[in-house]
Symmetry: C2
Subunit: 350 residues, 2 copies
């Protein structure tokens, strides 16, 4: 069984309108609403894979009850801890037209989310420890709600390790930095999260090798990404899988460095990183070797991009992607990357 932790779920609501009547009453032509937040996306993906899972986390208020009911309807197994605060909503207005009042196609309103008390978190920890008893893996995904310390994921990773359960961590910022130090089995940063953690750019301008790269389109510098991933391993992570969008996955593991790529597909990348995290946890739980684990992760990410609804995938796309993904051991020139980074470091202080 895979335990999924979602401490800051959300309800994502989208209203489609022909054109917004600012300052007036609008009647949307279409309404979409579904549970979101990275942990919920991971749980839904695992459920669609047919994996045995248990979703844990914090829900509260009107929105929390709605999310819990919807998960029940979808058959996603969950043991969520009730909190007094109100689970957050995101509200997005997508305007089709470009009328007089039109100021941009998409306007979003993000609620801050609940304040979580120490007592509530202690109750969650009880649920979490109970769930770990029968688990083969745990996934910790997404942001932390207000009131929880940046070391929260680190603590949960240590608790899992004490119960013999390997952890997959997918978050950002200080929570990721602290989590890495707690020794998770896998961390899955994207390029931006890895850059923030490394404190330097890991991409090069597209179509050129000029020294400046401060603006314009860029693509990940695979050697630099590999180096940053290696550094996260020295800081504690047992394996690092960087998700690089169309460039696929770059992994630094106890079984060496790997790269996995699916043929590029057009679509909606929202939720693709969560699909990768779900597949990595699934592969970890059922003991897939690294090259198979990465093949499934890259294929599921690509199938998720191809699906019209963010964070979902079709079995056919997934099966097709599994046959077209390439996985190979990486052969980067690490020396060159190191030299480049040292030059950048000099630029920064000079």
């Amino acid at each position: 069984m895979i335990v999924v932790v979602c401490l800051n779920p959300a309800l994502d609501i989208t209203h489609r309108v022909p054109a917004v009547n600012w300052g007036g009453v609008n009647r949307p032509s279409a309404v979409y609403a579904r549970p979101g937040g990275k942990g919920l996306n991971v749980a839904r993906t695992l459920h669609a894979l047919g994996a045995d899972l248990l979703l844990t986390g914090l829900v509260g208020g009107i929105t929390g009850a709605g999310i819990e009911a919807e998960l029940g309807r979808r058959g996603v197994p969950a043991a969520l801890t009730a909190i007094a605060g109100e689970t957050r909503r995101t509200f997005t207005i997508a305007a089709d037209g470009t009328g007089a009042g039109h100021k941009g196609a998409v306007t979003a309103f993000y609620e801050a989310g609940p304040e979580v008390s120490a007592r509530e978190f202690a109750e969650f920890r009880g649920q979490y420890e109970k769930a770990l008893a029968g688990a083969e893996a745990v996934v910790l995904s997404g942001s932390l709600p207000t009131g929880l310390a940046a070391g929260t994921y680190a603590t949960l990773i240590e608790t899992a390790a004490a119960a013999g359960v390997p952890a997959v961590l997918d978050t950002h910022g200080e929570a990721l930095r602290r989590g890495v130090a707690a020794g998770p089995a896998i961390v899955k940063p994207n390029l931006e999260e890895l850059e923030n953690l490394a404190g330097r750019r890991l991409s090069a301008p597209l179509g050129g090798s000029g020294a400046s790269g401060a603006s314009g389109a860029s693509s990940p510098d695979l050697a630099a990404v590999t180096l940053a991933a290696d550094q996260l391993r020295t800081l504690g992570a047992q394996a690092v899988v960087a998700s690089l969008g169309p460039q696929g996955l770059l992994a630094a593991t106890g079984d060496g460095r790997w790269q996995a790529r699916a043929p590029e597909v057009a679509g909606n990348a929202t939720g693709a990183g969560d699909a990768v995290a779900a597949a990595l946890a699934h592969g970890l739980a059922i003991g897939r070797p690294w090259h198979e684990r990465l093949r499934h992760a890259a294929a599921l990410g690509a199938a998720t991009v191809a699906a019209p609804v963010a964070g979902e995938f079709s079995d056919a796309d997934y099966a097709r992607a599994l046959t077209t993904v390439t996985v190979h051991r990486a052969a980067e020139d690490l020396g060159a990357a190191r030299d480049r980074d040292m030059a950048l470091d000099r630029d920064e202080v000079g």
Copy 2:
């Protein structure tokens, strides 16, 4: 026990923002969310009065589950019928500032609400008939969701009458017209609803008696309102209580015509009409004579206007208003009103 029918509930969400960043991401400084729709307001008011009530109606989807959970938390007794569609949300953005992107203080997005199937409505009717068995009164409030015929309230009033339960009806348009014909104990239109039903203006320009009244501020013409109320009685309603805002209540009943007024209070009139409907049903259920029934209704309406949150009231305001409300038998010059209406009718065709 009072049965409250809410066929088209809503979740009302308000985001307060300093100024709206149209086309960008906004993080509201305050978020308010609460179950709404006229029937839910009536149920909450009756619950706050300590009345024995049962809320019936239709809820569905993520929003429906959230509303049901919130009613449970507030302790409002409910036996709601589940539907497949999604209960509607209203989303209001209230901007404090008047920055560059500001186009008006309040922008609203109203979801259309669910489509209700014949099978779902039949299931509701079963619940409703069961609830009527122990009821002293029923309140039918608000709009009808898509898929339900305009005669729905009429049918429900007839079902209640067959069970010996008097009905209070508060709706508008064709549903009100059809409902009146079914012989409810009380209908409670506001001025606009009464005007729509009468097919003519029932107000006079403020501060003058000129023949034109097409524009500018106006106040209800009490004689004309009385006449329109009398006409609704001839069409089937046993009593008509028109809620006229600061002008109070004007009632045409089997015990004669009455007027009830509270001293004018500043505040938020939203939900005040629902408080009046709740008080009328309460008075009906416990057998208050008309003058007492109207005194409580006018006082509760005034206390609701005075409360900072729409649709709520404080016991202190209610108690105070009960001592200041005036109730008296109306002594309108009905002949003059009739003459005026006939003159208006001639104007319309001439």
